[in-house]
């Protein structure tokens, strides 16, 4: 008994060094909450800088792990697994978090609540870090809940009736989804007697389980995860939340929690596919979900007048494109998914940066308000055109490379398995790229083709948002002409297939 306890304690103790980014995150959350208690001058600035520094540190240590960690490590009594795939995801989350803090530097919407805001944001990044490494069903649940509960509160940070309503709706739907997920997990526990879902014995027990209960349980868990990535038909929370939450929060929601969902879905699919012995045809199920998601995202975006809402719907469509990686589900597919995710962070954050920048500086909210903007600032207009082209997936931007890769993976999956659903998804997805052009082009169309009231002087150009935005657009162009480096980085991640 004492021996076991000692063993556990040393296990935890020896795990801690590998948990540095997470420890910093927790420390940062506590620090920000603590500093937020005091009434000091320039508190808001302090908070922002503190959050940015913390996230930069997290990113630094994530990257250090990437450079120095080649082994797969089971940590904290096998609750989490630190492998290169997890580290790569963590780098993406850290980057997404840092970008969001930087883009929100000028945002004034949350008045005196910036302490709470940044603490919650770091919590989401923390939850995402946990989820990326989870190798135990309970760990998944804890990570997802950390993300979700913080997200419910962040939704209400516009402090008006709409955002409170959206927050409450999100909470209700989210709680239901979590309930369904944990219910499914409890069944799986009943089949296997274990929660360590990456272990061999878990798989073996699952293979022995009856088909029908297994189908129900695995669909329940998957549905809970699909809820997080706003995949149809579990997307109904998204429009409300995306409309009423503050713009930086929406940008944040469209990357970190969503990609966290993908991180765990990849790991989860590896298990639940049971090496092809699953009674569920996952490729078909996910292909239908992907098609629905793309269609709903795209066709809802078509009718939007509000730029932010249009981007929000389009990010649902991008969930569908990312899902293609899970449909094809080969090593190439997962690598393409990671590539797409990295590019998606760049282009989506860049788009949101300019939407919120223009909203603040020029009071441009609806797509029609972009009228004639090219004459105010040709530079920003050009940058926005590149971003929109990248979101559509046209060359010469990395958005094209991402789509090329993910569709190549899908094609390869089809060629290998002859699964007709994949072919339908391929055709459907590519045709939807044409549909998406129609709404992405609206912003350049109004900016450039329409005469507008924006003949006024350009506002200050040297803001942190513009630097960030230019950097991202530059990255989007460079990653089209030279994707080799990023791809080589992703190539070095191995997946057990």
């Amino acid at each position: 008994m004492e021996e076991g306890l000692h063993h556990k304690l040393t296990g935890i103790n020896s795990s801690l060094p590998y948990f540095l980014p997470e420890v910093i995150l927790v420390g940062g959350i506590i620090l920000i909450v603590f500093v937020g208690l005091f009434n000091i001058g320039k508190k808001e600035l302090l908070m922002r800088v503190l959050a940015a520094v913390m996230l930069a540190l997290v990113l630094y240590f994530d990257i250090r792990q990437w450079l120095h960690e080649d082994n797969v490590r089971q940590l904290f009594l096998d609750m989490v697994t630190l492998d290169r795939a997890a580290i790569l995801w963590k780098i993406l989350f850290g980057t997404g978090g840092l970008f969001t803090v930087l883009m929100g530097f000028k945002y004034r919407g949350w008045y005196d609540k910036s302490g709470e805001y940044y603490a919650l944001m770091l919590s989401v990044v923390f939850g995402a870090h946990l989820v990326a490494m989870a190798s135990n069903l309970l760990m998944i649940f804890i990570g997802i809940e950390v993300i979700s509960i913080s997200s419910y509160i962040l939704t209400t940070f516009s402090f008006n009736k709409n955002s409170t309503e959206a927050g409450l709706k999100y909470l209700l739907f989210g709680a239901a989804a979590s309930g369904v997920m944990i219910f499914g997990m409890s069944w799986l526990y009943a089949f296997t007697g274990s929660l360590a879902f990456t272990e061999q014995s878990f798989l073996e027990m699952l293979m022995k389980a009856d088909a029908l209960p297994l189908i129900i349980a695995s669909l329940f868990v998957t549905a809970g995860l699909l809820f997080k990535i706003s995949a149809a038909p579990m997307h109904i929370w998204a429009p409300d939340v995306y409309t009423s939450a503050p713009t930086p929060v929406v940008a944040f929601f469209s990357i970190v929690p969503k990609l966290a969902g993908f991180a765990i879905l990849v790991r989860w699919m590896l298990v639940i596919k049971l090496f092809g012995f699953s009674p569920v045809d996952w490729a078909a199920v996910l292909a239908v979900v992907a098609m629905l998601t793309i269609a709903i995202g795209n066709f809802s975006a078509l009718w939007q007048n509000n730029a932010k809402r249009m981007l929000a719907y389009s990010s649902i469509a991008h969930s569908g494109f990312l899902l293609i990686g899970l449909v094809a589900f080969s090593e190439l597919a997962i690598q393409s998914l990671l590539f797409y995710a990295a590019i998606y962070i760049l282009m989506n954050v860049a788009a949101f940066i300019y939407v919120s920048y223009l909203e603040r500086e020029y009071n441009i909210i609806n797509i029609k308000d972009y009228k004639g903007f090219v004459r105010t600032s040709p530079l920003i207009a050009t940058v926005l055109v590149v971003i929109m082209i990248s979101l559509t997936g046209l060359p010469p931007t990395a958005g094209f490379t991402a789509k090329l890769l993910i569709f190549s993976a899908l094609w390869d999956g089809y060629a290998a398995t002859d699964h007709t659903m994949m072919l339908y998804l391929l055709i459907f997805g590519l045709l939807n790229a044409v549909v998406s052009l129609f709404y992405y082009l609206k912003i350049p169309y109004f900016m450039i083709f329409k005469e507008g009231a924006h003949e006024g002087k350009a506002k200050k150009l040297y803001t942190i948002e513009n630097f960030l935005g230019f950097f991202m657009v530059l990255a989007l162009l460079i990653l089209f002409f030279k994707p080799d480096g990023l791809m080589r980085m992703i190539n070095s991640v191995s997946f057990a297939f």
Binding site: A415, L431, A433, F438, Y445, I448, N491
Partner: protein
């Protein structure tokens, strides 16, 4: 030295100039057009160097070593997980099939700048976009790597969209987005085939290097290539050593296809109930048919032309349509010849339909520019018919028609532009007896109308005769095109004579008067700048009509190899031994 980077200079010179124009301050406004003119003029000189340095005996087509002015630089290289490696290269070069297109583009683009001389509104945007378009067009014609080709192909869309949408006529919004959506739809279909192809084809030279059969790509001999292909067939190449390539020349060799891959001929893979290769050809055909355009996917063209400003119409009809036909030749016909043969009858049929339907629409058009736009549809139908016949005469005729139509249609759109510049109205019935009011203009109109309807002595005649000869002999040579198609196509000539003559009669002969919004005083005869555009085009149309050797000498060797390659293609299912 110059020859080593000739094609890159052709591509990157306008791009650089576009950036310079974009960065120049507003007061430098009046210099934009001079920069553009200078760039296009330098391109003309470089094209002259290409023309005179071009070796007529090197065939290109499917022989990678006989392309000329080639440049090769590795571009994208990374691992494709369990599939091996991906390799895309900056690989450009010309052969007989593409050199004429490069020459044509350079000429038409230069004329386009002259025609843009009076554009002062948003001149900075206009000339930089024009130069970007210029670079993309040249890039399309010289790219030998599918990804590179696709990049340039897509890259034409955005400048074109803005050029039509910003400087166009009253319904430019509708026309520009229609153009963009149609063409993007086409390129998505091409993208599918590109994915299918690069996942199926390997680069034998790079694979040899991967297999340590050679130390670097320069040291790969034909023997080693053969060895790699044999190993590939015997499935002895480990997957991680396969180098997937976008190289369009390698794609023409059945030996480079991975056994059992989707595009491989050995196993007939079925997609949606169609053999994969045939479906791929169909997708390429539809994709490029939108660009050519072929009836019934031509409907973007009249709108785009009517709304586009004159110089953009000139470039659109003169060069952009040829990109579609050239793309079909370079990818569809050469990479999937089995599909080309299988669908030859249908391609010929759509060619004939385009000829007749386009001519009928032209006959019914009230707008002069629309009439010319439909006549483009009709004349591009000949290109399709010539290609479908797969005879030397037919294919030479098709390429000749592309050049000839490039020159003549450019002139025709300039003609429509002259009237529109003066009166801002192009409705045919609003004019009468222009011959007495604008005699010099009328002479050019009549010359180019006759050239376009195929009067002997002009380039159009040679082209159409070759196409008709080729398609007529096809039923004997390879049995692809039935005779009635040729006969029907020939009636298209009568139709084209009728709409041109009828237009001449209505607009230029008889008593001079104008109707509607047209002010008689505004109709002045052509000025010096317009002479400058019409005369070179006239000289070219005449020269090519009298000395067909100017073009034929360039293309003959390549065309005969092309015809032989496609007719006797090796993409056949081998018999069981």
């Amino acid at each position: 030295m110059l020859n080593d980077y000739l094609l890159s200079t052709l591509i990157f010179l306008p791009l650089t100039a576009a950036v310079i124009i974009a960065l120049l301050p507003q007061p430098a406004k009046q210099f934009y057009k001079y920069i553009a003119l200078f760039v296009c003029f330098v391109q003309l000189i470089l094209a002259g160097v290409i023309y005179f340095g071009f070796n007529h005996n090197l065939q290109g087509v499917r022989e990678i070593e006989s392309f000329q002015y080639t440049e090769f630089t590795p571009w994208i290289n990374f691992e494709l997980a369990s599939l091996g490696k991906l390799s895309a290269n900056y690989f450009v070069g010309v052969d007989g099939l593409s050199v004429t297109m490069v020459l044509l583009s350079v000429v038409v683009l230069l004329i386009g700048v002259v025609s843009s001389w009076n554009i002062t509104e948003k001149a900075k945007g206009y000339f930089s976009l024009y130069l970007v378009l210029n670079a993309a067009i040249i890039g399309c014609f010289v790219a030998l790597d599918f990804l590179l080709f696709y990049l340039f192909f897509e890259f034409m869309l955005l400048p074109m969209y803005f050029l039509i949408g910003l400087w166009g006529g009253p319904r430019r919004d509708y026309a520009s987005i229609k153009f963009f959506l149609y063409t993007l739809l086409g390129s998505v279909l091409i993208l599918i085939v590109m994915i299918m192809l690069y996942l199926s084809v390997v680069d034998p030279a790079a694979t040899a290097v991967e297999l340590n059969l050679a130390s670097n790509i320069e040291n790969v001999s034909p023997d080693i290539v053969q060895q790699v292909q044999d190993m590939l067939l015997a499935r002895q190449v480990p997957v991680e050593n396969l180098v997937h390539t976008f190289n369009m020349v390698y794609m023409t060799d059945p030996g480079n296809y991975i056994p059992n891959s989707v595009m491989d001929v050995q196993v007939v893979r079925e997609l949606l109930g169609q053999p994969a290769r045939l479906l791929a050809f169909l997708l390429l055909f539809i994709g490029f048919a939108i660009k050519i355009p072929v009836v019934p996917v031509h409907t973007w063209l009249p709108d785009a032309h009517v709304e586009a400003p004159t110089p953009i119409s000139v470039v659109l009809a003169g060069v952009l349509l040829k990109v579609g036909a050239y793309g079909l030749i370079r990818t569809g016909y050469l990479i999937i010849p089995d599909g080309a043969i299988h669908y030859a009858w249908w391609i010929g049929l759509f060619g004939v339909i385009s000829i007749i339907y386009g001519a009928m629409c032209a006959l019914a058009s009230r707008d002069l520019k629309k009439l010319i736009a439909y006549s483009s549809v009709s004349h591009m139908g000949f290109v399709l018919l010539g290609l479908a016949s797969l005879t030397s005469e037919g294919v030479s005729g098709a390429i000749y028609q592309m050049v000839s139509h490039g020159i003549i249609s450019a002139a025709l759109f300039l003609i429509a532009g002259v009237v529109y510049d003066r009166s801002h109205n192009r409705i045919i019935e609003n004019y009468s007896g222009l011959a007495s009011k604008m005699p010099k203009y009328s002479i050019f109109v009549i010359i180019f109308f006759f050239a376009s309807m195929g009067l002997p002595g002009f380039s159009g005649f040679i082209a159409e005769v070759f196409v008709l000869l080729g398609s007529f002999s096809s039923s004997v040579v390879n049995g692809l095109i039935p005779r009635w198609m040729t006969i029907l196509a020939a009636t298209g000539l009568i139709l084209s004579a009728s709409y041109y003559l009828w237009t001449i009669q209505r607009m230029f002969f008889g008593q001079f008067f104008t109707k509607g919004p047209v002010e008689a005083n505004s109709l002045t005869d052509i000025n010096r700048r317009e002479y400058l555009m019409f005369i070179p085009l006239f000289v070219l149309a005449l020269l090519l009509g009298i000395f067909p050797g100017l073009i034929l000498d360039l293309i003959n060797q390549s065309v005969s190899l092309f015809v032989e390659t496609v007719n006797n293609h090796e993409f056949k299912i081998p018999h069981n031994n």
